[in-house]
C-alpha cells in the first residue's frame, strides 16, 4: 500500500502568487524511508504540510494510507502521519518531558493507563527513557528534537515526516536524529519521510527525491542521485562531504572511484598508496 500519495497536486500560499508546489506526483510506499532534498523555497516543507492536512491542495488530491484527505478525516489522517518540525523550542507544549510526550495522546482522548504505556514506548524508541521527568529547556538540541519525535510517536503513527528537523542542530544532534529515524524505520516498520538539505542524511534512505521550484526533478537511490553531480549543482545542492573528497582526490590524480561510503573510500585510498 502507498503510505502517502500525491496526484497532480498544486498549491500556492497566496492567490495569484507563485506556486509552492506544481503538478506534483509523488508517492511513498508503506515501510519505505524516503529522503526529500531541495534548496530553500523548493517546496519541500509545503510537501510535509500537505501530507497531513495542515495545508489543503488547490488542485489534485492527497491520499494517506488509501484515505483521501478531506475536512472530515483530518484527525484520523494526523494520527497516522506525524510531523516533526524544525525548531524544537516551538513544538514543545509542556515544560516536563513526559507531559509533552503525553500531549498528543491526551488530545485523542486515550485512557490514562494507555497514555502511560505510550510514553514508555515513545521515550524508549528515541532512547530518552532516563529523561522522563527532566525539564525540556535543559536538554541539548538533539535531545529536545528526540523528545519532539517521541511526542509524535505517542500517537502511534504509521508514518513520520521530519520537516528539516535537523536544520538547527549541531552535527552530533543531527547524527542522533538520523540514527533514531533509521531505527524506527527498520525496527518499528514506520514509514519515514526525511526532508533535509543535508545530503549526508539522505545516504541512509531507501530512496531520495530532489525538489526544485515546486517540482520533483530527480529521484532514485541516494547513490544514483549523487552520481549525477552536475545536475545537483544546478539545483543549488552541494555534494556530501565524502563525495567532495572523492572528487578532489580524482582531480589530484589519485585512482579512486566515486563512492559515498567512507570505508570503501578508505580501502581504495589504501590500495592507491601502497
Amino acid at each position: 500500500m502507498k503510505a502517502i500519495e500525491f496526484t497532480d497536486v498544486s498549491f500556492r500560499y497566496e492567490e495569484e502568487g507563485p506556486f509552492a508546489v506544481r503538478h506534483l506526483n509523488f508517492a511513498v510506499d508503506e515501510g519505505e524511508f524516503v529522503a526529500v532534498l531541495g534548496h530553500n523555497g523548493s517546496g519541500k516543507s509545503t510537501l510535509a504540510r500537505l501530507a497531513n492536512g495542515l495545508l489543503t491542495p488547490d488542485e489534485g488530491e492527497v491520499r494517506v494510507f488509501g484515505t483521501l484527505l478531506g475536512e472530515k478525516n483530518l484527525y484520523d489522517v494526523r494520527r497516522n502521519v506525524g510531523v516533526v518540525f524544525q525548531n524544537p523550542d516551538n513544538q514543545t507544549v509542556a515544560t516536563i518531558v513526559e507531559d509533552d510526550v503525553a500531549f498528543g495522546a491526551e488530545n485523542v482522548g486515550l485512557p490514562r493507563e494507555e497514555i502511560g504505556k505510550r510514553i514508555d514506548f515513545a521515550l524508549r524508541a528515541v532512547g530518552m527513557e532516563e529523561y522522563r521527568t527532566a525539564t525540556v529547556a535543559r536538554l541539548s538540541g538533539g535531545q529536545k528534537q528526540r523528545v519532539a519525535i517521541a511526542g509524535v510517536l505517542a500517537l502511534k503513527p504509521r508514518a513520520v515526516i521530519l520537516d528539516e528537523s535537523t536544520a538547527m542542530l549541531d552535527p552530533r544532534g543531527r547524527r542522533e536524529i538520523v540514527d533514531v529515524v533509521t531505527r524506527l524505520n527498520k525496527e518499528e516498520g514506520i514509514t519515514v519521510v526525511l526532508i533535509t538539505h543535508f545530503m549526508e542524511e539522505a545516504l541512509l534512505a531507501d530512496r531520495a527525491v530532489v525538489m526544485n521550484r515546486g517540482e520533483l526533478v530527480m529521484q532514485g537511490t541516494p547513490r544514483e542521485i549523487f552520481e549525477r553531480r552536475e545536475e545537483l549543482v544546478t539545483y543549488n545542492l552541494a555534494l556530501p562531504r565524502i563525495g567532495i573528497i572523492c572528487e578532489k582526490l580524482r582531480a589530484g590524480g589519485m585512482q579512486v572511484g566515486y563512492t559515498l561510503d567512507a570505508q570503501t573510500l578508505a580501502k581504495e585510498i589504501a590500495e592507491c598508496v601502497s
Partner: protein
C-alpha cells in the same frame, strides 16, 4: 536577563512540590488575604514565619527566593517612598508644601513594602514548585464551575501554561536581539528616559515578530498532534488530594485564624 527567575519551575522533589496544585493556588489566595488582614506586626510576623517554613519545605535556596524580589525592588521602594511623603499622619516630623513625613506614614510604608515582598515571594514559590502543566490543571479544575457560563476554561488554562513556558525562551531572545543591536552600534545606556524608551523599539519589534512566528509554528505543531480543544481530551496526570495537602490546608487555615485573632486581641504595636 538570565536571572529572571519569576515563573520558572525549580526542579527538585519536595513536600511543597508534591502538593496538589489546586491546594497551592488556594493557599496562595488565602495567604494574600492573610497578608492584607494582618493589621499589626505580630500578624505580619506570623505570615513571614509561615512563608519561611514553606520555603524550607520546598527545598529552594533562599538566594533564589530573594532574587525573585529583586525584580520588584524598585516598585516596592518607589511606592514606599511615595507613601512616606504623602501619608498624612498626626506625628509630623517634617513638612514642606504637600509633602509630609510622619510617624504613621513611615509605619504604613513599611507595612506596605513588607506585604508586597511577602506577596511576591509567595507567588513565585507557587511557580517554583509547580510545573506549568500542573498549574494549568489546577486552574482548570478550580475554574470548572465557570464552564457553566460558557467560559472556555480549558483554553484559558492552556494559554496560561504556554505563556509561562515561553517566558525563558523570550527572555533569551530579548538578550540575543539586544546584543545583536549593540553589535550594530545601538546605544541603550545613555540619554534621558525618552531616548532610552525609544532605544527599546529596535528590540521590541523583532521580538514581537519572532513571538508571532513562534506562535504560528507552535499552532501547527499542536494541530499536527491532533489538538482540537478541550473536548474529548483526557489527562495523563490526575490531581489527588493527599495527607500533605491536608497539612498545608490546616497550616493555611491556622494562619488566617491566627491573623484574625491577633487583629482582635493584640491591637499593639501599630
Amino acid at each position: 536577563m538570565k536571572d529572571v527567575s519569576f515563573g520558572q519551575f525549580y526542579p527538585v522533589d519536595s513536600f511543597v512540590h508534591r502538593l496538589d496544585p489546586r491546594l497551592k493556588i488556594l493557599f496562595l489566595i488565602a495567604y494574600i488575604v492573610a497578608i492584607f488582614l494582618a493589621s499589626n506586626f505580630y500578624g505580619l510576623a506570623a505570615c513571614a514565619a509561615v512563608l519561611v517554613l514553606m520555603v524550607l519545605f520546598a527545598r529552594i535556596p533562599f538566594g533564589k527566593v530573594l532574587r525573585s524580589v529583586r525584580g520588584v525592588a524598585f516598585l516596592v521602594l518607589f511606592t514606599a517612598a511615595l507613601n512616606v511623603l504623602f501619608y498624612s499622619g498626626d506625628t509630623v516630623y517634617w513638612q514642606w508644601g504637600i509633602f509630609c513625613v510622619s510617624f504613621e506614614g513611615i509605619i504604613f510604608s513599611v507595612f506596605l513594602a513588607l506585604r508586597l515582598v511577602l506577596l511576591v515571594i509567595c507567588s513565585s514559590l507557587l511557580t517554583y514548585t509547580t510545573t506549568p502543566v500542573s498549574l494549568t490543571d489546577g486552574v482548570e479544575s478550580l475554574l470548572t464551575p465557570l464552564k457553566w457560563i460558557r467560559l472556555p476554561v480549558h483554553e484559558l488554562a492552556l494559554v496560561m501554561s504556554i505563556a509561562l513556558r515561553f517566558i525563558p525562551i523570550l527572555m533569551d531572545e530579548t538578550s540575543r536581539i539586544k546584543n545583536a543591536q549593540m553589535a550594530r552600534g545601538a546605544d541603550f545606556e545613555s540619554g534621558g528616559i525618552i531616548k532610552k524608551v525609544k532605544a527599546t523599539i529596535p528590540i521590541l519589534v523583532p521580538l514581537l515578530l519572532s513571538a508571532f512566528r513562534r506562535a504560528d509554528e507552535l499552532g501547527d505543531a499542536m494541530d499536527a498532534r491532533c489538538y482540537t480543544g478541550g473536548k474529548h481530551r483526557t489527562k495523563y496526570k490526575k490531581l489527588r488530594f493527599t495527607w500533605r495537602d491536608l497539612i498545608a490546608f490546616l497550616l493555611g487555615a491556622a494562619l488566617i485564624t491566627g491573623v484574625v485573632l491577633m487583629k482582635i486581641w493584640l491591637p499593639a504595636p501599630y
